[in-house]
Amino acid sequence: MAQGFLVYVENRNGRIRKGSLEALATARRLADALGRTVDAVIVGDDAAAAQAARFGAHRLFRVAPADVFDARDGVVELLAGLVRQESPAWVVASATAAGKDCLPALAARFERSVIQDATEVAAEGGELLIKRPIYAGKAFEVVKPAGALAFLTLRPNVFPAAEAPAAATVVDHAAAVDPARVRTRVAEVRETAGGKVELTEAAIVVSGGRGIKAAEHYPLIEQLAAAFGGAAGASRAVVDAGWVAHHHQVGQTGKTVSPTLYVAVGISGAIQHLAGMSSSKYIVAINKDPDAPIFKVADYGIVGDLFQVVPLLIEAVRKLKA
């Protein structure tokens, strides 16, 4: 059988990452075009494996969590063993925090770099053409893997996830991980999101900028985000002023998001902010300055006082969704 894809499916406490399902479906689309197959691997129980099996793999290796010592280094060992055993042409993961960390550790063992954070992948002439943002999306580079083995991560929320007509064959796989290779020990995991939607996975993102004037007004942004069922972001100015924690920052030195809807509230639209959000499908800007650059990228713009507009918008969205 021709060499194909190996997809790492990330399972966090029984929840399969959405980005992993997108990676599975993307690998399947490409494999179908190239006449190749998709293998996948998940660390987890039968229920998690059964869920992942629906999304495009032909064969799914299921590995017991104890086998990898519940640690990144263990996952990397597992993947390295499978790459040697199955000789895939392309190893794919979602560009989540874990994916962006695991794949380079894996690639190093095969003397390769990782094509990180791809936003488009096409099959052309039997090869992959991969597009990835550089300068946080101010430009894109299109690359072609060289050699017989490539590692790539796919940006979450960009590729569609779709179920395949038939479920994968689930194969129990014993990962022979040497515990001595597990060098970094995880002492504690703190979930700060508390059920909230992760910024990079959210379908709707509402961000606040300098226009909110003070830390005590940031809850207005959070309330609007909650009304939309989305996540709350912020501009660099707001983070640098200490009004909100840095993990909310959208832009070149923060997160890059590509939601279906991005609502920029009191954000002027500095080039480093635009870099982080201009690939959003729809952009709404609310700003009192009609000359703010944000209006040049917005699909819908409201020139007005955010302190008047946002409370009305919260109410209108709640009413519509009720």
């Binding site: 550089i134 946080a136 060289a146 009305l312």
Partner: protein, 258 residues
Amino acid sequence: MKIGVCIKKVPDTETRIRIAPDGRQVSLEGVSFIISPYDEFAIEAALQLKEKAGQGEVVVIAVGDEDTGKVMRNALAMGADRAVLVTDPAVVEAEPYDVARILAAVARKEGVELLLFGKQGVGQDYQQVPTLTAELLGWPAAAVVVGLDVAGGELTATREIDGGEEVDRLSLPAVVSAQKGLNTPRYASLKGIMAAKKKTIETHALAALGLAPLAQRSWEVVRLEMPPARAAGRLIDGEPEAQVKQLVELLHTEAKVL
């Protein structure tokens, strides 16, 4: 403790990016260069660890062209003790794996116990050199770190992960990559700037490190593209109530996102 801080020279984040005539590179004409912003958190962390210990040495390390020395001078002005630059015609287009190979060789040669990085170089945004380097060294690593402490030969790192934080424990030597939020980088003092002028930047060619030639192993760049231009949108006029009503209607019926 001897701490290495790997930094990268990148275009200022306010730079408007243009594609060079060959279509495969970014035009860097007239661009001003800075230390990649995330690297400044790594430099600050190194300086704080040295100050807390009351001893030690902070060595900034870079792979790049000769001009990289200019931005390294800023790290020396912040308080780093020495700078090591690996420059060679071959390194200019080196891919992340090869950059990691070079940095690992310098880290070994210098005998550093802790190797710090910014979580990514702003620009190419490869987001992998710290992890690749750690693997090549065989050292434990913690990526995207917002909290860091060293005590009794053990390092505790708080990492930013999706939707939360993870606390890792690592034995030294180790590799850590810094995320915004780890600290507030200091500005170079006038005294620091003067002192930096007297510090030397040691420059090595690849051969001096005993490294095999570099090879573009992982990909070839086919072309660069600019992002698709966004069509000018619609400004919604009227009183706030009318504006909001129309916006919600458009989101509901036209964009269909509500």
